[in-house]
Subunit: 358 residues, 2 copies
């Protein structure tokens, strides 16, 4: 059964650089997102040179997908290679910051799966590491960066299609598929909590669409509503945010996608503006179309259904490569990437525990 852990979109090759211009390695294959991260970089022109993971089974599966990659004997071997510009990693969430700091300290850019860390102390050390190294700690917020409808929404907003954005509501249901999950997935200290984990996608989208550069958590709640077998799992979370530019955002995330849905989650984003609104049906148009990437736009001109699957691409990866090569911030600012994480960590830390006594 399809779950979000193995969602690794493939797009069209659209290289921003030539062979050998941007060499990267994959280290830390704990989350399947590493495949989406590598696909995006390779399509944008990057060369995947090395892979390393202590688990030979994970390395073998990875090599089956990318036959030309070389297997390193240690992460140190990769860090020692001056040709490697970037290390991409989807480690266990609690280990992402430590790994990233090692990468930065070796003068390379780091590209990590979301949530990029699990504690505010790690965040503080990451901010210091970025400052000291001058390198990038980039984050794979896949639910926007690797979703064509989500990319297209950003373009519509930039063109003024809905005026000034006032509010973003995100629904992020995911399929649990518990038997397929690694042990760390159920250990609170390892995965960091649901708001820190899949909630970070939502906060990144809220900040991006509202163009906010700061915010506060007005309220947040988490629960284990229905999985007593996994006492440290949070199967539900939600938060209301107040942003520094007067806009606001709400999101709900959960692990309750029913078996009857033909994809891993009916992810939605509703963006309210002064002149209209946009709804994204990201992975399916439930009851209507099993293909994803449906954009619904309503403004003064009318109501429009715009299916964009295969028509938008994923500009983030090429922009990220150029940013690393040129020291720019086209793809995403460092502060934006870390602010999304910070608000997720604060929402998680301050969350009220809800749910009935079972």
């Amino acid at each position: 059964m399809r779950d979000g852990m193995n969602y690794a979109p493939q797009g069209r090759p659209n290289p921003v650089c030539g062979p050998g211009d941007f060499v990267f390695a994959a280290v830390g294959l704990d989350h399947g997102h590493i495949y989406g991260m590598c696909n995006g970089l390779i399509e944008a022109g990057a060369d995947l040179k090395w892979v390393y993971d202590p688990d030979p089974g994970k390395v073998a599966a990875f090599r089956a997908q990318y036959p030309l990659v070389r297997t390193a004997v240690s992460s140190e071997q990769i860090f020692d290679d001056p040709e490697v510009r970037m290390v991409a990693a989807a480690a266990v969430p609690a280990q992402r910051a430590e790994l990233g700091l090692r990468v930065l300290n070796r003068g390379k850019d780091y590209f990590t799966d979301k949530g990029p860390m699990t504690t505010l102390d790690q965040l503080k050390r990451v901010r210091a590491g970025v400052r000291a190294s001058g390198r990038k700690y980039a984050v794979y917020y896949s639910e926007r960066l690797h979703v064509e409808s989500a990319v297209f929404a950003g373009q519509l907003i930039a063109e003024g299609a809905i005026g000034r954005v006032l509010q973003v509501t995100g629904l992020g249901p995911h399929r649990l598929n518990a038997v397929s999950r690694p042990a760390w997935f159920f250990v609170r200290e390892q995965y960091g909590g649901i708001l820190c984990d899949i909630g970070s996608h939502q906060i990144e989208q809220i900040l991006y669409y509202t163009q906010a550069s700061g915010g506060q958590v007005a309220a947040s709640q988490v629960a284990n509503h229905h999985h007593p077998r996994y006492p440290e799992l949070e199967d539900f979370g939600e938060a209301l945010l107040t942003l520094d530019n007067g806009a606001s955002g709400y999101f709900r995330v959960d692990w309750f996608t029913p078996d009857g849905l033909k994809t891993w989650g009916d992810g939605r984003t509703v963006i309210l503006g002064t002149q209209g609104y946009i709804e994204l049906r990201k992975y399916i148009d439930v009851g209507r179309d099993s293909e994803g990437d449906h954009v619904y736009l309503v403004n003064g001109e009318g109501a429009f259904h715009i299916p964009v699957k295969g028509k938008v691409g994923y500009p983030f990866f090429g922009q990220l490569i150029l940013d690393c090569l040129e020291g720019s911030e086209r793809a995403m600012t460092q502060e934006h990437a870390l602010l999304a994480a910070e608000l997720a960590l604060i929402a998680q830390r301050d969350a009220k525990r809800i749910g009935r006594r079972e």
Copy 2:
């Protein structure tokens, strides 16, 4: 242009009583909802005997719709008529409690448009008036009671279609259509604030679908984002609720329906359960179908699109008549109706004011 103020659904006649068994009057025609209220009662077998409003224009318009109604010279004339069992009213919100207390004190049931009052002090006096009189202070929460998809969702939940309800998210956009609005609509003390007004619909739905009997407001926010010409208008509001049974609810309400939408608002309700979820597209299936009342159900059995327009009816009105005749609480408990109002008033009182300085 269609707006919610004139949304007065008509259903099929389905009388629960015979001619003369249940006589009512309409007093207070300030909000167009009075037409939906009267339609519902008449279809369920009630006899509309009297109308009174100090504005002859409103009375004339009302009589054009209901030619058999008699015009009273005062509300007192109606209160003095022992045949009248119920007074239905859609007065200016700030006057609804005072009018209702007069009705209760005259031994008649009261049926008011939502929000049923605008202050917590009024609520306290209403609770005392209900106790003292033994009569009903019923509320027309039309966005559930007079919407077939919303009624059908309650039936699905009762049948166990999505397991235990964990969370309800409601989006309640409305068209402003400012030129059509009466003066009181823009006076904060008169309409009570956006959470008290259209927010009360949302809270009623959250309480109903979660079957909660109490709750707290975790956070609430209001704004005048884009209507400086009407400084006392709140054009945006949202709240996050924590319920006494461990479930939760979030809603967003606003006056930003764009002109390009073919109805007054793209109202949605998403109900998350342990075994599935339901989405209601209440008034339109945007970009797909201009007719409303679309139910989307996903559970272990599959994903289903169920259009229910014309297939469900509005059982509330007949139940309300029987409740008044028999002293029962089939339609809605008194406590539920007033709890929804109480949480709306608390959300309104405690709301953080957001929005940028314009």
